[in-house]
């Protein structure tokens, strides 16, 4: 039995009973979708259509439909890839690391955070796949599959190959972890199901969950093991993504600070996105009692901490460039701040380092509309961070003869906007068909449980 502290604030407010939890969280699944859900879903599907169209154009005509050129050969594509992968970090962090640290406040947000992770990684995967000139062969040539070319394998020196392993591992572990956590709740929906279709499908996906002590015991053990596996992945994925840049010779990329800096940035952006989503979800689905101001405040603190960490990294990079005495390195950083893309650099600095400092004030951490705005600022700032790293480093490198400017085409913008369509389509389906809050876990922290 867990004894609740008398003086600690409640993690779930509103004097909920176990039955309240079940009915309230199952409500969206069992009722007809609301008008706002329908409108949001249709909009998302339209954007998903834009994604399909722009990807079709890219595949039919070539990468030339993008704005890349002989010098800047990665632009919005890889910027968006890192952006989405970064967003995909909060989910696993919340469910795995916070589970290991026994942070019970994570219980009402981990489900949606994990869902967000999975959808974000799906969005991220679009970019490395479609940025390849020949994705029809690239999709499997990067995998170490037995082949008819003799003993031809991938290049294990290449960080891009590490990336393939890192992302696929992360995605599959996250998916299994998320699904495992869903099983008891799916069984609850199954047990309450009134229609034949719902009975069949929730029965199928609950995998014969009985709720016996033995199943619960095994469930807990597997959760803990998966949490243990996921924890290093939280760090490894973005470490390896950062090595896509750090192992190169490009001034502005070739930096040993990248792994911790990228992980901090990923957590920063992940929490930013979780905040964006949850502030909406708790309002629209009336879950203020489950996702309380306390939750938001805790996440704001994480955002402030990691924001300051990335800010420190930005300043450290400048110091190291100045201290290195390498003209190319020095120029790369001066060019970031004062070159033709200065606006991107200063957007990044403002959004990521300066803006989150308002969370020192309690009002800022506890006012949902303000948090929502700040979370958008964080997301924008982190997008600019990746743009600054990738494009402003590439566009002016070693030989000034190759210096060029880069701007995206409508196709690249369409793909980026379209991935939001993919993300929200998935998220809307998730919120309609699956419990967005982990009922079984939340029930364990209720004050009034019988």
């Amino acid at each position: 039995m867990i004894h609740d502290s008398a003086i600690r604030t409640q993690l779930v407010t509103g004097e909920k009973t176990l039955h309240d939890v079940t009915t309230e969280i199952c409500r969206p699944i069992e009722n007809k979708p609301s008008t706002s859900w329908k409108v949001g879903f249709v909009l998302s599907v339209i954007f998903l259509g834009i994604l399909g169209l722009t990807l079709a154009i890219t595949t039919l005509f070539g990468i030339g439909t993008w704005g890349l050129n002989k010098t800047v050969q990665w632009g919005w594509d890889i910027t968006n890839f890192v952006f989405w992968v970064g967003i995909g970090h909060a989910g696993t962090l919340i469910s795995a690391i916070l589970l290991l640290f026994r942070q019970k406040w994570r219980m009402s947000i981990n489900r949606s955070a994990e869902a967000m992770t999975i959808f974000a990684v799906m969005c991220a995967a679009v970019f490395p796949l479609f940025h390849m000139g020949r994705l029809w062969v690239g999709m499997y040539w990067v995998l170490p599959l037995p082949n008819a070319f003799g003993s031809l394998w991938g290049n294990f020196h290449s960080p891009l190959l590490w990336d393939v392993f890192a992302i696929t591992t992360y995605f599959s572990v996250s998916l299994v972890f998320w699904y495992l956590g869903l099983i008891p709740d799916i069984a609850t929906v199954r047990d309450r199901a009134t229609t034949a279709g719902r009975k069949f499908w929730y029965n199928f996906f609950s995998m014969g969950w009985t709720g016996s002590v033995r199943t619960w015991n095994r469930y807990e053990v597997v959760s803990l093991i998966l949490a243990g596996i996921s924890t290093p992945l939280v760090l490894s994925v973005h470490t390896i993504v950062s090595m896509d840049f750090a192992t190169s010779v490009v001034p502005g990329w070739h930096t040993t600070i990248f792994p911790p800096y990228f992980v901090a940035g990923a957590i920063f952006s992940g929490f930013g996105m979780v905040l964006t989503l949850l502030v909406i979800v708790r309002k629209v689905m009336n879950y203020q009692d489950y996702i309380t101001i306390g939750h938001l405040e805790a996440m704001c603190k994480v955002v402030m901490l990691t924001g300051t960490m990335v800010g420190l990294a930005y300043i450290t990079e400048f110091f190291v460039a100045a201290y290195s005495g390498v003209v190319y390195e020095q120029y790369a950083f001066i060019n970031r701040a004062t070159g033709p893309y200065w606006w991107a650099y200063w957007s990044m600095m403002t959004c990521n380092l300066i803006a989150p400092q308002v969370f020192w004030f309690k009002w800022a951490r506890t006012t949902p509309w303000f948090i929502f705005m700040l979370s958008i600022v964080v997301n924008v700032g982190m997008w600019f961070e990746r743009f600054v790293i990738i494009v402003t480093s590439l566009h002016r490198e070693y030989l000034p003869s190759g210096w060029v400017m880069y701007s995206p085409t409508i196709i690249e913008i369409g793909i980026f906007v379209g991935t939001f369509g993919l993300f929200f389509t998935c998220f809307f389906l998730f919120s309609k068909f699956l419990p967005v809050i982990n009922m079984s876990e939340v029930k364990s922290i209720l004050k009034n449980r019988e």
Binding site: G154, N155, S158
Partner: protein
């Protein structure tokens, strides 16, 4: 014991009926449904399960087999009757003459399976000595040009040759009989056979006049030499014998007279190793030309004031020599006393110096002659005896012709290699004249501006389909041979003339037949026989001698005449008034018409290779533009991307794009001729509208054509236009990418400029040793002499042809996606005489600003002034291609091992393996990797030669045409390396140094590129790698490149001046 039967199958068996017992005797007790199976009638209806499976299986197999063959069948059929000398897969080489212009460089044509696919310089040719310019290289594609006419044309519709011949001969005969005048208008012809033929033609049709004119006129030099020395010729200029060259606007390394020949000679004299003197080059000019960018001293001048400066130079020297000066009212000196400096440099090298001028004004050229005479340069650096024939047109002839044509004086006019409607300022006179003429014929291979107005077009062959000869310089006889049968139903112009003049050979009556000249059957090409006849009279009287000349590309063993000092016959003061009238008004802007290095006079401007070659200075492709000095641009509020109207008198060009050109002299603007071509017939003529035709601005006062026009006005208009540039950042940002020193410093210390401390080099990877079985393997490497490279871009075109590099067009170049495997980086340094930038500021590099920020500071401070720092610029050219790094950053990052290191030191691309992640290109510090953003072949969006069957004939079969989505880059012509190795192996010998050459190396007229095996201690490249001037670009990255550069050495006092 028989087993007791317990069970039975049916009543019949139990009762043992008769029928049952009978049926038991058959193997199959029931009747087989054979009839059903074999009958074709009810097959589908009665099919049972097994049959269904059979039919199903067969259909699936059949459908999938049928579906497996979506591509059309292409057969590789061996020759049924193998032509002699043609072996599939083996190239044949023929020495010939490049016909891209009348300079007539020798060329070696590579053919594969009967198709010419590459032209290189003929190393035996005394003119070009193995070099070939960008235009010449590219001219091979004009053979496979879809715009070529596929047969003779009468007023826009095709006719038969026989009909054409019949009517033309009838009319010519009638006119000749009645004395009606016939004009044969041609470009310069120095073919001995061609000239002899014209004489015969004139003898047949007695009223014929032959008028020669060149698109770019050298009439000024010709007239001046006629007046001065009684010889209407262009002399031979020997840059390799000169220690000082002073040039007034003559771009002799780019476009002036014979640039390949001059570059060969000039660069030979620039070799610093062991040299006491190198050719100090002083250039006075308005546009920043290729020559100006390579000159040791370049002084901006206002070209319409050239007479003043030339006279000033003369007077300076005359004073030193103690002879009378020219008394001209206007006198002047350039800022900083540069004329005086030039005079001193010349005087010190009396007899081994040279003064040249690009002006087409005979009076200015006469003064130049006088200067050279008083410097004793005739007989040493300038040779009037072994003169050039390359340009012979006299402007007054053209002027007279245009007037006569307008007045209808000619009843018939034949245009041979002449397009006066396009490339002269007398277009309207010719248009009118062609209408008035009863007979007008053009021999043009395409429906060009003049041909499309003519009644008849009798299309001539491409020069690679023709027999020809040439005498570009007195005593140097060259031979040209066809390397392919005519692609279309065309006929060489010479043969048309022979046919019309009824010149034929009869072995029984022709006197030469008896001398064994015609060993061939007489169905050989008539002009070939004609050439043989002419050559027999020139001492090549046997088949063996002729065949040797054919093999070598000409007869090069004739002894040059002794060059003598001519006597000067002009009283200089008599031309003063003419000099004075040539001086433009000071407050009016000069328009300088110039030739782009690849487009030249515009004859081949529909050639995509030519258009995609960037200008060496501005790096602009696919357009001509107004080259504007900074001061004028600031004054008029014009910036890059704006449009202006250019007006001279009544003529104007509307909406010309602008490029603010560092080095452009104040109060002058530059504009390239050779653009704005138009054709008419049929749907052909896709290349219309590349730039605008600037020939209409040529100044025709005093009956000559002057390319310097005083009194131009420019007016900014609304609208914007982006020029397609391949390089958009122009300063080197103070980086040690190009190393340079002065000749004085070099003589003291050969490592000068290259003696910075070595960086500490570390590597994570294994160091490669390039050994095979313990013995040294090849290690291919390249050395590039920055002191020789002039930026002429011949290598760029040569590489594109050799390696099937796609042309991407203007729009893609604007997106910075040109595909060139080799590029020439060009950097400007801005001279800061006024000290606009604080000397202690880090943006300041000596007396020159090399950084963007420094330039911005200087520009701000210079507002309201003349922007002198933009006028006086220092230029470097640096060829840049894949450096074939020993520790290549691209190789480690490819996820699929598509780019790997060979055992011979090559960084090799496996196109089939490439998936196009583009990481290699991002990680390349030299930015030499090129991505196939689109499919560049068989794509209507890229309608260049890769999109039609004719254009594809030029594709090199040894090199893969890359598909969409893969990366490509310089391979160091690995196909040539392999071919060389295989050849050596078959001959059981080691590969010799210099046997394998890269395309860029072969093309280079300056011999700046040397390729070879650095593991071979006797190879030239090995020695150059040990040279004190040798360095690697970005050595501190420890990429261990296989390409090294040699420091640039300028012959100047000190590097900051």
């Amino acid at each position: 014991m028989a087993k007791k039967q317990l069970y039975w199958k049916g009543e019949d068996e139990l009762l043992k009926t008769k029928e049952f017992l009978a049926s038991q005797k058959n193997e199959f007790s029931e009747a087989l449904p054979l009839d059903e199976v074999f009958s074709e009638n009810n097959m589908g209806l009665t099919a049972n399960r097994r049959d269904f499976l059979k039919f199903f299986g067969f259909s699936v197999a059949a459908v999938s087999l049928a579906a497996c063959n979506p591509t059309p069948v292409r057969n590789i059929v061996p020759y049924l009757v193998k032509p002699e000398e043609v072996t599939p897969g083996v190239a044949n080489y023929y020495n010939s003459i490049c016909g891209a212009c009348s300079t007539a460089c020798g060329t070696t044509v590579k053919t594969r399976e009967g198709r010419p696919i590459k032209m290189d310089g003929n190393v035996l040719s005394p003119i070009s000595k193995g070099g070939l310019c960008a235009t010449g290289q590219a001219s091979i594609l004009s053979l496979y040009d879809t715009e070529r006419l596929d047969g003779p044309i009468l007023k826009g519709s095709p006719i038969e040759w026989a009909n054409l011949d019949k009517t033309v001969v009838e009319q010519l005969t009638q006119m000749s009989a009645s004395g009606a005048k016939i004009a044969l208008v041609s470009g310069t012809i120095h073919s001995p056979s061609g000239l002899a033929l014209i004489e015969e033609f004139k003898a047949k049709f007695t009223s014929t006049t032959h008028i020669t004119y060149d698109a770019i006129s050298y009439s000024g030099i010709l007239t001046a030499n006629k007046n001065s020395f009684g010889k209407q010729v262009i002399p031979s200029y020997h840059f390799d014998k000169a220690n000082v060259v002073v040039s007034f606007g003559a771009d002799f390394l780019g476009t002036w007279i014979s640039p390949v020949e001059f570059t060969k000679a000039w660069s030979a004299k620039r070799k610093v190793e062991g040299a006491d003197k190198i050719v100090k080059t002083i250039q006075f000019e308005s546009n920043l030309s290729t020559t100006g960018s390579n000159a040791d001293y370049r002084f901006p001048m206002k070209s319409s004031n050239e007479a003043v400066y030339v006279v000033a130079l003369h007077n300076e020297l005359a004073q030193k020599a103690g002879i009378p000066q020219i008394a001209m009212a206007q006198s002047g000196e350039l800022a900083g006393g540069s004329i005086k400096q030039a005079a001193e440099a010349l005087w010190a090298e009396k007899g081994t110096s040279m003064v040249i001028s690009g002006s087409n004004n005979p009076s200015i050229q006469t003064v130049v002659n006088a200067i050279n005479l008083l410097l004793n340069n005739y007989g040493s650096t300038i040779d009037l005896d072994n003169h050039s024939n390359q340009f012979k047109g006299i402007d007054s002839d053209l002027y007279q012709l245009s007037n006569d044509m307008q007045n209808g004086a000619y009843s018939a006019v034949l245009f041979w290699n002449a397009n006066p409607v396009y490339n002269t300022p007398f277009a309207s006179q010719f248009v009118e004249g062609i209408k008035k003429a009863r007979l007008s014929v053009s021999f043009s291979g395409t429906a060009d501006e003049t041909a499309s107005l003519c009644q008849y077009i009798a299309p001539s062959n491409h020069f690679l389909e023709s027999w020809n000869d040439a005498e570009p310089k007195a005593g140097i006889l060259q031979l040209s041979q066809p390397t392919i049968s005519p692609v279309f139903k065309t006929r060489q112009a010479e043969e048309s003339l022979m046919s019309w003049a009824a010149i034929s050979f009869d072995s029984t009556t022709d006197p030469f037949a008896k001398k064994g000249i015609y060993s061939e059957k007489l169905n050989a090409a008539p002009f070939y026989l004609y050439i043989k006849k002419v050559w027999a009279s020139k001492g090549v009287a046997t088949d063996d001698a002729f065949n040797k000349a054919l093999h070598d590309g000409g007869k090069f063993d004739s002894v040059a005449q002794v060059s003598t000092v001519p006597s000067f016959a002009v009283a200089l003061n008599s031309i003063v008034s003419s000099l004075e009238t040539s001086i433009g008004k000071k407050d009016q802007i000069d328009l300088i018409l110039y030739q782009n290095i690849s487009v030249k006079d515009g004859q081949l401007s529909n050639n995509p290779w030519i258009q995609e070659t960037p200008d060496p200075i501005s790096k602009v492709t696919w357009d001509n533009y107004v080259s504007l000095p900074k001061a004028l641009a600031e004054n008029k509020g014009i910036k890059n991307g704006d449009l202006v109207n250019v007006t001279v008198g009544k003529n104007s060009l509307k909406a010309m794009p602008v490029f603010v050109q560092p080095g452009q002299s104040n109060m002058t603007i530059g504009l390239a001729v050779g653009y704005g071509r138009k054709g008419k017939i049929g749907e052909k003529g896709e290349f219309d509208s590349i730039g605008k035709n600037a020939y209409l601005f040529v100044n025709t006062s005093d009956f000559s054509r002057n390319y310097i026009v005083n009194g131009v006005t420019i007016e900014k208009i609304d609208g914007a236009y982006e020029l397609a540039q391949t390089q958009t950042h122009h300063s080197i940002e103070g980086r040690a990418i190009v190393k340079e020193t002065t000749f004085g410093e070099y003589k003291k210390d050969p490592t000068a400029g290259n003696n910075q401390p070595q960086p500490h080099l570390y590597t994570l990877w294994e160091t490669k040793d390039y050994k095979k079985d313990g013995a040294p393997n090849h290690h291919w490497a390249m050395s590039i002499d920055l002191n020789a490279c002039t930026g002429c871009s011949a290598c760029v075109v040569s590489c594109s042809i050799e390696n099937n590099v796609p042309v991407v067009g203007r729009a893609e170049v604007r997106r910075r996606r040109e595909m060139h495997w080799i590029r020439i980086d060009r950097y400007f340094a801005f001279e800061d005489k006024k000290g606009l930038v604080d000397k202690n500021n880090s943006q300041f590099e000596g007396a020159f600003i090399t950084k963007e920020k420094g330039l911005a500071i200087a520009d701000e401070k210079a507002v309201g002034s003349q922007f002198e720092h933009w006028e006086n610029v220092k230029v470097v050219h640096q060829p840049m291609m894949c450096q074939h790094c020993g520790q290549a950053p691209c190789e480690t990052v490819c996820p699929v091992l598509a780019t790997t290191h060979s055992t011979e030191g090559l960084n090799q691309m496996t196109y089939n393996r490439c998936i196009g992640t583009k990481y290699c290109a991002n990680n390349c510090p030299y930015k030499v990797r090129r991505f196939n953003w689109f499919r560049y072949n068989d794509n209507d969006k890229f309608d260049f030669h890769f999109n039609n069957d004719l254009g594809k004939m030029v594709i090199n079969p040894d090199v893969t045409v890359r598909t969409r989505g893969v990366m490509e880059k310089c391979s160091m012509c690995v196909q040539n390396i392999q071919a060389g190795k295989v050849k050596a192996k078959r001959e059981k010998r080691a590969l010799t140094d210099g046997e394998v050459k890269t395309a860029c190396q072969k093309a280079c007229p300056a011999n700046a590129i040397v390729f070879g095996d650095v593991n071979d201690p006797n190879s030239e490249v090995h020695k150059l790698f040990k040279n004190e001037r040798s360095y690697r670009v970005l050595e501190e990255l420890n990429t261990q490149t296989a390409v090294k550069y040699l420091t640039k050495v300028r012959d100047i006092q000190n590097n900051n001046a």
